[in-house]
């Protein structure tokens, strides 16, 4: 029998944790249904190709060209024109209040400038706080304006692609300067859900024993700290895989997100990520003095994970210090990994650069957790 790890003891702890998890129906149900709920909530915004988006047009140029442009926009079904605002200020206010999603500003002399071969500016302000909702509408806007101008024989023939376009469509995204594309969200959601449940559930692991008084007994037995910690983590690996399965299935069935890469490779990456999060939870659990503290620590970990990993805001748009911080977080690497595999079909070699940081992270955090695990009641 090995002095530093007893298989019997490790299995005993795992078995006990499994039974306890199974008996805790409420938590178990939550762990399975939270992914479904999140997926539907997030997915609803992403799946809908929203139409009839409220749009305000400020036209300083009433010509047949602009009239047919406006008519085409309306006919596309994507835009619902509101009563034209009186001023730019009012239009801006409507956007701010969320009454309209788009403000299209056709400047005075737009048609004249076009005729002369100059490049007038068609300014479009878009509320991109929900980039997904706006994405398709913007694409339509671009296509339509090209079409209309072609009909009006003002556009340059497609053949001479090198010639600059007749007008400049200046898109101003507000509230979210870079658009995040729809498909990025589902794989990202997988990472967020895993972080949430893995960290939170295990963070309660040791503190629960401390609060219920069972830790005194456990500490009086010959069980070793890492046996307890590893044994407590094991059941959640299975929970994690169930969650991943639910998200992947949901992504496929509900939103037809393509799965470009290998499932085997994804499972491997998922394992590395799950274990990384479990070590965070279990380490919090060793550091905290009670369950409330453990929960608070989990929240402190959740926030930067969601904000700085590239899930919420585009990674490259963040300030440098935030990127450095993000680089430490497992979710950052997992997002790259999972987006690579699911969307781009990355292979093992492409994925490795995102896996080893997870392994390093796990090692460091677990060492801290084992070191801080209480061996006495002092």
């Amino acid at each position: 029998m090995n002095r530093w790890l007893s298989w019997t003891r490790l299995v005993a702890v795992m078995r006990k944790e499994f039974i306890q998890m199974r008996r805790d129906r409420m938590s178990f149900a939550l762990m399975v249904f939270v992914p479904v709920m999140q997926l539907v909530l997030f997915g609803y915004a992403l799946n809908n190709d929203p139409r009839h988006l409220p749009t305000a047009i400020i036209s300083g140029d009433a010509t047949s060209v602009t009239r047919s442009l406006v008519a085409a926009l309306q006919n596309s079904g994507y835009f619902k024109l509101t009563t034209p605002p009186a001023s730019h200020a009012e239009a801006s206010r409507l956007l701010e209040l969320g009454r309209v999603q788009f403000v299209i500003d056709i400047p005075a002399g737009f048609t004249r400038q076009l005729m002369r071969g100059e490049t007038p500016v068609l300014r479009v302000d878009v509320d991109a706080a929900d980039p997904v909702a706006a994405g398709n509408a913007i694409t339509t806007l671009l296509q339509l304006s090209q079409q209309v101008l072609k009909q009006e024989r003002l556009a340059v023939p497609a053949a001479s692609a090198t010639v600059k376009p007749p007008f400049e469509l200046r898109l101003h995204r507000r509230y979210n300067e870079e658009g995040v594309t729809a498909y990025n969200i589902v794989p990202g959601l997988m990472g967020v859900i895993l972080t949430l449940t893995m960290v939170m559930m295990t963070a309660l692991g040791v503190t629960r024993e401390l609060e219920r008084g069972t830790l005194e007994n456990l500490l009086a037995t010959p069980v070793l700290p890492h046996e307890v910690l590893m044994g407590k983590m094991a059941p959640y690996i299975i929970v994690g895989y169930i969650q991943v399965g639910v998200v992947l299935l949901g992504a496929e069935v509900l939103f037809q997100v393509p799965m470009a890469g290998s499932l085997g490779l994804l499972s491997f990456g998922v394992l590395a990520f799950i274990v990384a999060n479990l070590t965070v939870g279990i380490t919090f659990s060793s550091l905290a003095r009670n369950m409330t503290q453990a929960m608070q620590m989990s929240f402190f970990f959740m926030l930067p994970s969601i904000l700085l990993s590239g899930f919420m805001f585009p990674y490259r748009g963040m300030p440098e210090w935030a990127q450095w911080l993000g680089e430490v977080l497992p979710l950052t690497h997992f997002l790259r990994l999972v987006r690579g595999i699911v969307l781009k079909g990355s292979g093992a070699a492409d994925v490795w650069p995102h896996v080893w940081p997870l392994l390093v992270f796990t090692g460091v955090v677990l060492a801290l957790g084992v070191k801080r695990y209480r061996r006495t009641l002092d």
Partner: protein, 307 residues
């Protein structure tokens, strides 16, 4: 090996600058049932935790089962059965699952069989599938005792194992303890019950983190120098008050219709009591002091020593 199973010298432990145990020295011999007594907060639990390595002493040293309590806590843990004061098994596991868990943690050979036998021995077989949290207090205690016996420890540390247990179950519990002691197991047990204290081979009495006295129950009685008289035949509050005011009387306790009067000065006590009896038809009898009176006396003298 006979001789001292527990041998500690000058153990001290304080929490937030307040002493919980100070300068504890004691020794417990093999096969002995050693009782630990003292009022709430006197440091019994803390002492037991120090002995099995659950707490690190601030000062002092000692050996438990031949292992240094500071350096070889793990070796001690393997060989000790510790029953905590509060129930500390898993309430969401069944009786059987709890026992199987503990058996595997101690790497007991053939755990299934060992658990089976433990269940039978303590009459837990019909309840093996019940969740531990659903057991009544007495059954929880039995489960806890069964669990700490699984690995056949050489030393049992039992912290108030019979608190809140009915008299019948308590008696069975103590028969079990005596049976184990007869097999050579050393038992250190803390309790608040005097009848249990009388069933111990030796006792230690603590107050305020200090060990006040140590020895066999009869030795403690003799050493206290306490003399007790029972006063029967028509007692009322006025008489009790009057006896209490006698200079030689240290304590008066009433049990039913009998008063027990004790003091250390035997001769003075006798004269003064007789004087009170002059005008009444009371029945006096000299009895052996009860253990409880001895402890109350010990506490009182300790308090006077401090004041």
């Amino acid at each position: 090996m006979s001789g001292a199973i527990i041998e500690v010298e000058g153990l001290s432990k304080s929490f937030d600058g307040k002493f919980a145990v100070r300068n504890l020295s004691m020794s417990v011999r093999q096969g002995e049932i050693f009782g630990f007594l003292g009022p709430n907060g006197s440091g019994k639990t803390t002492s037991i935790r120090l002995l099995c390595g659950l707490l690190t002493p601030d000062a002092g040293q000692g050996r438990c089962l031949g292992f240094d309590i500071r350096r070889h806590a793990r070796e001690i843990k393997r060989r000790v059965g510790y029953m905590t004061q509060g129930f500390s098994y898993y309430e969401d596991l069944s009786v059987r699952e709890n026992l199987e868990f503990i058996a595997s943690i101690y790497e007991v050979q053939n755990p299934h069989l060992v658990v089976q036998r433990a269940l039978e021995q303590l009459g837990l077989t019909p309840r093996q599938k019940q969740l531990a949290g659903a057991l009544s207090g007495g059954w929880k205690q039995r489960l806890a005792l069964a669990a700490c016996l699984l690995h056949e420890p050489k030393l049992l540390l039992l912290d108030e194992p019979t608190a809140g247990v009915d008299p019948q179950a308590r008696r069975e519990f103590w028969n079990e303890i005596h049976r184990l002691a007869a097999q050579g197991v050393t038992v250190l047990v803390s309790t608040h019950y005097m009848d249990e204290a009388e069933r111990c081979h030796r006792l230690a009495y603590m107050t305020d983190g200090r060990l006040l006295a140590q020895g066999a129950p009869s030795e403690l009685m003799a050493a206290s120098g306490l003399v007790t008289w029972s006063v029967g035949g028509g007692h009322d509050r006025a008489l009790e008050q009057r006896l209490r005011e006698l200079p030689a009387v240290e304590d008066v306790v009433s049990f039913g219709t009998t008063l027990y009067v004790s003091g250390t000065d035997a001769a003075a006590l006798e004269t003064q009591l007789t004087a009170v009896n002059a005008d009444r038809g009371l029945v006096y009898r000299r009895v052996s002091p009860r253990l409880e009176d001895v402890f109350v006396h010990l506490m009182r003298t300790a308090a006077e020593g401090h004041a």
